[in-house]
């Protein structure tokens, strides 16, 4: 029983302090009283930067052929860096950090506008997503040229869906799952194995119709993949959900790795590290995307173009993502969904109200896993090749980053974060303008700095919005008026 101690341990009963009264802004100090300390502080920071960088940047040892190391001095560079830091610090001291600066109140006009925009935001988002391939075609000039953009759209939407799926587990139920990619892998391999299975193919050829499995396998396997992933969610959940917080995170992380290692080592089933590559392409509900007479293009009277399949894939993932979003919205306003959020807020109180917390956590885990499985099956049919390489911890980390960056629990936030993160990383691939002579020179490879820039951006966003892009929680039901709950009150869950 000792393990309950921390939960039920009575704290000293002190009534919470009332909200502190807003303090009247103190009169702004005179200019020179601000300028002098600001300058002093900036110079000091500059000197410290210089001293720190002196050994790190100031000396450079280069290997000259087979000869000895030659030392070059780069004091100029050090002073440039130190100067930059100094100026930046001074600017900050005089603006954002200026003493006596009144806390910035959100302008009422802006709040009004955002209030009016809010209800239209989701439909607008969705309408844009629906029209996106056509916009891409128009802007890139032709169907074939839009390939890159449609592909990027598919890529981003996959992560939007994964983010929404994980959001159920992490954002709503407050269970930190670091192994979400395991369910993605289960879905992908389920589809890959079933669709490329020779006996299944032969069975359906013999009993249903010639070529049935090749053209229908995705549509049959999609639900199977989701259900199987959900089942794995339950299997994993049973032993693991007694753990909380850090322990849960570590065990789920390990589970993700175990699945990957099994995929690598169970060569007879999964073909090991070489992966499975004979996955049949997606069909338009049985109609193949090929140039033949019974192909999609011929039937719909179009000129054959391999982009038709891509655009169809785009709409499939859009549909799957929409399904995830709609299911989550419904679940949230059902007793289970409320119980998930209540669990995140206070597990003990949940139990005192008769909620079976193990079962509730399991449903959250299984539901999240199921959507991960759908996304996995889609991934397999899009790439038509699966290998354990695609399901590393990095994937879990990116999906979790999307959920955290988006603001845990918020769907619009998670979608924006996916666009920002995945789209942003993709944009960073194309920073060839940095190669200009006056910037970094032609031997500079911006894609090498992708992760660095990306990391900085993440840190910046988390400093600027520590609770994610959308910090508020929208209540699931209201009597008179739906008021957002401030993120400061919403708990993040404990395990």
């Amino acid at each position: 029983m000792a393990d309950h101690r921390s939960d039920l341990w009575e704290r000293e009963d002190t009534p919470p302090e009332g909200a502190p009264a807003p303090q009247p802004a103190p009169p702004a100090p005179p200019a020179e009283a601000v300028l002098l300390p600001a300058l002093k502080d900036a110079v000091l920071t500059g000197i410290i930067t210089g001293l720190l960088l002196l050994p790190l940047v100031g000396f450079r040892a280069t290997e000259s052929g087979s000869g000895p190391l030659t030392l070059t001095y780069r004091f100029g560079l050090v002073s440039v860096f130190a100067g930059l830091v100094m100026v930046l610090r001074l600017v900050l001291n005089l603006t954002v950090w200026r003493p006596g600066r009144p806390p910035r109140a959100k302008s009422a006009a802006l709040a009004g506008v955002s209030q009016r925009i809010a209800p239209a935001l989701k439909p607008a988002f969705f309408a844009f997503a629906l029209l996106y391939p056509f916009i891409a075609i128009v802007f890139s000039g032709s169907l074939s040229l839009s390939r890159y953009w449609v592909d990027l759209g598919i890529y981003i939407l996959t992560y939007v869906m994964l983010g929404w799926g994980l959001n159920i587990v992490v954002g709503l139920a407050g269970l930190l799952d670091l192994g979400y990619v395991a369910f993605y892998a289960v879905g992908a391999y389920t589809f890959a194995l079933l669709s490329s299975s020779v006996p299944l193919n032969a069975f359906f050829d013999a009993h249903v119709a010639e070529g049935f499995w090749a053209s229908w396998s995705f549509w049959v396997c999609l639900p199977v993949a989701g259900l199987l992933a959900g089942l794995w969610g339950i299997i994993l959940g049973f032993p693991v959900l007694r753990l909380r917080g850090d322990y849960l995170a570590i065990v789920t992380l390990a589970f993700g790795e175990i699945i990957r290692l099994v995929l690598i080592n169970w060569v007879s089933l999964t073909n090991g590290g070489a992966g499975i590559s004979s996955i049949p392409p997606i069909t338009f509900f049985g109609v193949p995307f090929n140039s033949g007479d019974d192909g999609f293009a011929a039937i719909f009277g179009l000129d054959y173009n391999s982009m038709h399949r891509m655009i169809f894939l785009y709409f499939v993932i859009l549909g799957l993502a929409a399904l995830t979003a709609l299911a989550t919205i419904r679940l949230r306003s059902m007793p289970v969904g409320r119980a998930w959020e209540a669990l995140r807020e206070d597990e003990i109180a949940c139990r005192s109200l008769g909620i079976n917390t193990t079962l509730t956590k399991l449903t959250a885990f299984a539901t999240g896993a199921m959507f991960g499985g759908f996304a996995g099956a889609f991934f397999a049919v899009r790439v038509r090749f699966v290998s354990p390489e695609s399901f590393t911890f990095m994937e879990s980390a990116v999906i979790l980053a999307i959920v955290v960056l988006g603001g845990m629990g918020s769907q619009i936030g998670v979608a924006s974060a996916a666009i920002l993160l995945i789209g942003g990383m993709e944009l960073l691939r194309n920073l060839s303008f940095l190669k200009a002579d006056f910037l970094f020179g032609s031997d500079f490879d911006p894609s090498l700095y992708r992760m660095l820039i990306f990391g900085f951006a993440m840190v910046a966003v988390m400093v600027w919005r520590p609770r994610g892009l959308v910090a508020n929680r929208m209540p699931t039901i209201f009597l008179k008026e739906r008021k957002a709950v401030s993120g400061a009150l919403v708990k993040e869950g404990h395990g």
């Binding site: 704290r11 007793p335 409320r338 005192s352 109200l353 509730t360 929680r473 039901i477 009150l489």
Partner: protein, 313 residues
């Protein structure tokens, strides 16, 4: 114990018609005996107060009753419907089952139920000494979470709810109406759409009680509901408890330091000290009990000073 031998053994109402029978309850934490061999009865439809100095083991008794702790020894029998006889209880205890249903009612052995089943099946609801509301959810949502069990009778993932069918909407409407009934009782209807964490302390206390009542409990356990309340809030709380007692079939088990609350609304007082029961009787009897005066009422002033200081801190 010693009190049992006191003169005039007129049968007490709680002995005649008990809802909860606590027999020889002990709870040890390592070497510490937090509760030692405590037996008492809580009468049906009555308010039973458990009082005692800090650290006497009151909260531990509550945690045992509500299933959060498994008692080291002892029996906790809750009898819905007609009270079971001692012989029936003993038979149930030896049988190894957690509950027995007869035509007259159902008897639960609480120490054998998992914590959530103590609430969902035996219908025991509780509040906490340190408030445990769902702070990031609205007042209305808090009251709907409390009705989880009645709303999920058709399954945790109910297709009618998933598709938002009319049958489900009707059910949800009933739940909202029930919540509104309790919101009205605690005078918080105007704040239904505000997050629970934004409410003043006294309102949070009453909301927690309303949330517990939304589970339609047979027994409501309140752990120091008046702690930290100012006199006005304390009065509102008394009114609420009296209303629950008058209008509902819920019996109340109450831990309280505030003597005015205890004497004002309770039918039966059990006094604990160092994990043992030292007195048990009507408020009048307990008030005049020399042991209680010596051990507990002596520190009453100090406690009250603390409480008042807490409010003004």
């Amino acid at each position: 114990m010693a009190e049992a031998a006191s003169p005039s053994p007129a049968p007490k109402s709680w002995d005649l018609n008990p809802l909860l029978k606590v027999d020889h309850l002990s709870m040890r934490f390592g070497g510490l005996v937090a509760v030692g061999d405590v037996s008492f009865r809580a009468g049906r439809g009555e308010v039973t107060a458990v009082i005692g100095p800090n650290g006497a083991g009151k909260t531990t008794v509550f945690n045992c009753i509500t299933g959060f702790y498994k008692p080291s020894t002892g029996r906790l029998a809750l009898m819905q419907g007609c009270p079971a006889t001692d012989a029936e209880l003993d038979a149930l205890t030896c049988g190894g089952l957690a509950s027995a249903r007869t035509a007259a009612g159902t008897t639960y052995l609480l120490e054998r139920l998992a914590d959530h089943k103590v609430s969902s099946r035996a219908k025991v609801a509780r509040t906490f000494q340190n408030i445990r509301l769902f702070a990031g959810m609205t007042v209305l949502e808090n009251l709907l979470v409390a009705q989880h069990m009645s709303l999920t009778q058709a399954g945790l993932i109910n297709p009618a709810a998933l598709l938002n069918l009319p049958s489900w909407r009707r059910q949800q409407k009933q739940a909202v109406d029930h919540a509104l009934y309790w919101l009205d009782k605690i005078a918080l209807t105007a704040r239904a759409d505000d997050p629970a964490g934004d409410l003043p302390y006294g309102d949070q206390r009453r909301l927690e009680i309303a949330r517990a009542m939304c589970t339609r409990p047979a027994l409501l356990c309140l752990d120091e509901p008046a702690a930290g309340l100012n006199p006005r809030e304390s009065l509102e709380l008394n009114t609420l408890l009296l209303a629950i007692r008058a209008e509902h079939e819920t019996s109340i088990l109450l831990i309280e330091h505030d003597m005015s609350v205890v004497m004002g609304i309770s039918d039966h007082v059990v006094v604990l000290e160092y994990g043992r029961k030292i007195a048990d009787g009507t408020p009048q009897e307990v008030r005049n009990d020399p042991k209680v005066i010596a051990s507990y009422l002596g520190v009453e002033d100090e406690e009250e000073v603390e409480a008042v200081a807490g409010v003004h801190a």
